[in-house]
C-alpha cells in the first residue's frame, strides 16, 4: 500500500484535532484534541521513517509519547484546579483577563 495514504490520514487527524481545539468548549475535550494532533504527528513521523528507510522517526514517536504523558500530568493538574475553584471546565468561562 502506498505510504502516502498514511500521510493523508495524519493530515486529516491533525486537522480534526485543530478544528476540535478551535470549536469545542470544554477544556478537557480541547486538551484531548491537542493529544490527537500530537498523535497525528507521531503517525507522520513513523510513516516518513518507513519511507526514508531510517529509524529516527520511530524513535521520535516514542519521545513524543513520553512528552505527551508529561503534558497530561501538567494539563490535568491545571484543569482540575480550575474546575475545583469554578465548578466549570468551560474555556468560555475563563474570561476574567481581558482588556
Amino acid at each position: 500500500m502506498n505510504p502516502m495514504n498514511y500521510i493523508y490520514l495524519s493530515c486529516i487527524l491533525f486537522s480534526l484535532g485543530a478544528a476540535g481545539v478551535l470549536l469545542r468548549r470544554n477544556a478537557i475535550v480541547v486538551f484531548m484534541c491537542i493529544e490527537l494532533m500530537l498523535n497525528a504527528a507521531n503517525l507522520a513521523f513513523v510513516t516518513f521513517s518507513r519511507m526514508n528507510g531510517a529509524l529516527d522517526g520511530q524513535i521520535v514517536a516514542f519521545f513524543t509519547m513520553v512528552v505527551a504523558a508529561c503534558e497530561v500530568v501538567v494539563g490535568l493538574a491545571i484543569i482540575v484546579t480550575i474546575y475545583r475553584s469554578r465548578r466549570s471546565a468551560s474555556v468560555d468561562d475563563a474570561r476574567l483577563l481581558r482588556l
Partner: protein
C-alpha cells in the same frame, strides 16, 4: 556496536541545573518544612553559580555534542550564559520573603479554609524553586539543540514548568489560574504545530539533525513542498513562543495573571531561549531557504511591531503595557533573524542580553508598588509616584527609557545594532517600520514617566514597600547593567562578537 560518546564537560552546565532541580524535588518531598526554604534557595543559587562556572570553563568550545544532537558553540554559550544570568535574577525575585507573591498551597481552592489555614500557619510550599530550575535547564537546552527531537523535548522542558508557575499567584488566584489554563492550552496547541512541522521536515530531509536538513536543502535546491509545509508549521510553533503576531494573544493575559517574579523570569528567559533556537534554525538549518521564509518573517515582524506598540497605548494596566511592549520587542528581534548575516547574529545576541536586564528590572519594580490587597498594577494609581518615592520612580524611569531605546541606556545599543544589521542586509522596510514603531513606543513609556512625575499623588493606600536584600540586589544589578551597557557597551559587544559563531 559502540556505545555513544557523551561529552559530559560540554553538557555540564545543563546537567548541573537539571541535577539541582531533581534534588529540589527530593527536598520538597523529604525535608521538614522549617529547613525547606533555606535549602531550596541554597541549592538553586549554588547550582546556577556552578553551572555558570562550568560554562565559563568551556567558553571556547565549538563542536557538536551528544552524537550530534546538541551543538555547543559560541552562540549557544552566549545564550546559555544569558539564560543563567537572567535565571539568577529571576530566582532573586522569587526568593523574596518580605511580601508574599506565591500562594502557600497551589492545590487549595481559592478562598477555602485550607488556604486560610496554610496562610496563617505559614505553611509555604517551595516547589517553585525546582520548577524554575527545570525551566532554566530547558531554556539552556533549547538554543543549543541541534536536532528536531532535542528541540521539541527542550521546548517542553522549558514550557511545562512555566505553565504551572503561571498559576501560583498569591493574590487574585482565579486570575492566575486562568492565566495558567490559557498559557497551557495555547502552548500545547502551538507545540502540536511545531511537532507536525518537524515531521514534514524530517520526511523531506530524511534526518532530524540540523546538519542533515542543511545538507538536504543544498542537495535538493529546497524546492520540495514537504519541506516548505514543515517549515511553515514549525514557524507557527516558534513564533508562538516568542509571542509574535498573530500568535501573541496569550502574552498580555499570562503576563498579567502570573505572579510578577514569574513574569519577570518568563519575559527574559523564554525570549532568550526561543530567539536563540529560532536563530539557529533559520540561520543554520534552513538558511538555504531564505527566499521562502524571509518575506513571511518580514510581514510578521512588521505586524508584531505595529500590534505591540499601538495596542499598548490603550492599556490601563502596567503589566499589560509591559506585555505589549514585550510583543513589540519580539518584532524588533525578528529583524535580526531577517538580516541573516554575522552582524544579524551578533546584534540579536546583544539585544537579547541587554533586553533581559531591563525587562527583569521593570517587573521587579512592579512587585514593590502595593496596597493592602497586593500589587497595584492599575496605571492610574501610579500617579505621583515620583513625589512619594523618588528613588523607585527614578529607577523605573531608567528601565522604561531602556525599553524605549533612548541613548545612554542599553536598549539603544541593542536597537542600533539590530536595525543597522537589518539595514546592511538590504531589508529597508523592516528598519523603517522598526524606527516608526520605536517612536510610537516611546510615547507610552514616556506617558508613564510623565504620570509618575508631573501629577500629584492621590491618597488611596498605594505605597512602595521596603523590599528585602534579594529584590534590592536584583534591581540594582539590572539598573547598573542597563546604565553601564548604555554608556560603555564596547566590552560586551566585542565579547559577543568574538564568540557568536555556529559550529559548522
Amino acid at each position: 556496536m559502540n556505545a555513544p560518546n557523551i561529552e559530559y564537560g560540554m553538557l555540564g552546565p545543563i546537567l548541573i541545573i537539571l541535577g539541582a532541580a531533581l534534588i529540589g524535588v527530593l527536598i520538597e518531598a523529604f525535608v521538614s518544612r522549617k529547613y525547606r526554604y533555606v535549602l531550596q534557595v541554597g541549592t538553586s543559587f549554588a547550582a546556577v553559580a556552578l553551572a555558570f562556572l562550568q560554562l565559563f570553563l568551556i567558553r571556547h568550545t565549538s563542536s557538536k555534542a551528544a552524537v550530534g544532537s546538541m551543538s555547543i558553540d559560541g552562540a549557544a554559550i552566549v545564550l546559555q550564559g544569558s539564560v543563567l544570568i537572567f535565571g539568577f535574577l529571576g530566582l532573586l525575585l522569587i526568593a523574596e520573603r518580605g511580601f508574599q507573591s506565591f500562594t502557600a498551597q497551589a492545590a487549595a481552592i481559592p478562598g477555602s479554609n485550607e488556604e486560610q489555614k496554610a496562610l496563617v500557619s505559614g505553611l509555604q510550599q517551595t516547589e517553585v524553586f525546582p520548577l524554575t530550575l527545570f525551566a532554566i535547564s530547558g531554556a539552556m537546552l533549547f538554543p543549543a539543540a541541534n536536532d528536531l527531537l532535542t528541540l521539541f523535548v527542550s521546548l517542553e522542558v522549558l514550557s511545562l514548568p512555566l505553565y504551572l508557575m503561571a498559576g501560583l499567584s498569591q493574590r487574585r488566584r482565579l486570575l492566575s489560574q486562568e492565566a495558567a489554563l490559557k498559557y497551557f492550552l495555547l502552548g500545547a496547541f502551538a507545540s502540536a504545530f511545531f511537532l507536525f512541522g518537524s515531521a514534514f521536515i524530517y520526511g523531506q530531509a530524511g534526518s532530524t539533525t540540523f546538519d542533515g536538513i542543511r545538507k538536504s536543502i543544498v542537495e535538493s535546491g529546497g524546492s520540495d513542498q514537504f519541506l516548505l509545509v514543515g517549515l511553515a508549521l514549525l514557524t507557527v510553533g516558534l513564533l508562538f513562543k516568542v509571542s509574535a503576531a498573530p500568535f501573541h494573544a496569550w502574552t498580555p493575559d499570562v503576563y498579567q495573571g502570573s505572579p510578577t517574579p514569574i513574569t519577570a523570569f518568563m519575559a527574559a528567559v523564554t525570549k532568550v531561549a526561543a530567539f536563540g533556537a529560532a536563530i539557529r534554525i533559520y540561520y543554520f538549518a534552513v538558511g538555504g531557504l531564505v527566499w521562502s521564509w524571509r518575506p513571511i518573517l518580514i510581514a510578521i515582524s512588521i505586524a508584531t511591531m505595529a500590534i505591540g506598540t499601538v495596542i499598548a497605548i490603550a492599556q490601563k494596566d502596567v503589566k499589560r503595557v509591559l506585555a505589549y511592549s514585550a510583543i513589540a520587542h519580539s518584532g524588533f528581534l525578528l529583524t535580526g533573524i531577517i538580516a541573516l548575516s554575522k552582524d544579524g547574529l551578533n546584534a540579536t545576541l546583544i539585544y537579547l542580553f541587554t533586553y533581559g536586564f531591563t525587562t527583569i528590572g521593570t517587573f521587579a519594580i512592579l512587585t514593590l508598588v502595593r496596597d493592602s490587597g497586593g500589587e497595584v498594577s492599575d496605571l492610574n494609581r501610579w500617579v505621583g509616584l515620583g513625589k512619594r518615592s523618588p528613588l523607585v520612580a527614578a529607577t523605573f524611569t531608567l528601565f522604561l527609557l531602556g525599553l524605549a531605546g533612548i541613548p545612554l541606556t542599553s536598549g539603544f545599543v541593542g536597537k542600533f545594532a539590530i536595525f543597522s544589521a537589518a539595514y546592511k542586509s538590504g531589508n529597508i522596510s523592516v528598519v523603517v517600520a522598526g524606527v516608526l514603531a520605536s517612536a510610537i513606543a516611546a510615547f507610552f513609556y514616556i506617558r508613564i514617566i510623565v504620570m509618575m512625575y508631573f501629577s500629584d499623588p492621590v491618597e488611596d493606600g498605594t505605597s512602595v514597600v521596603i523590599p528585602s536584600k534579594v529584590t534590592v540586589a536584583a534591581i540594582a544589578i539590572c539598573a547598573v547593567a542597563t546604565l553601564v551597557m548604555g554608556i560603555y557597551p564596547q566590552p560586551v559587544i566585542s565579547a559577543i562578537n568574538s564568540l557568536a559563531f555556529f559550529a559548522g
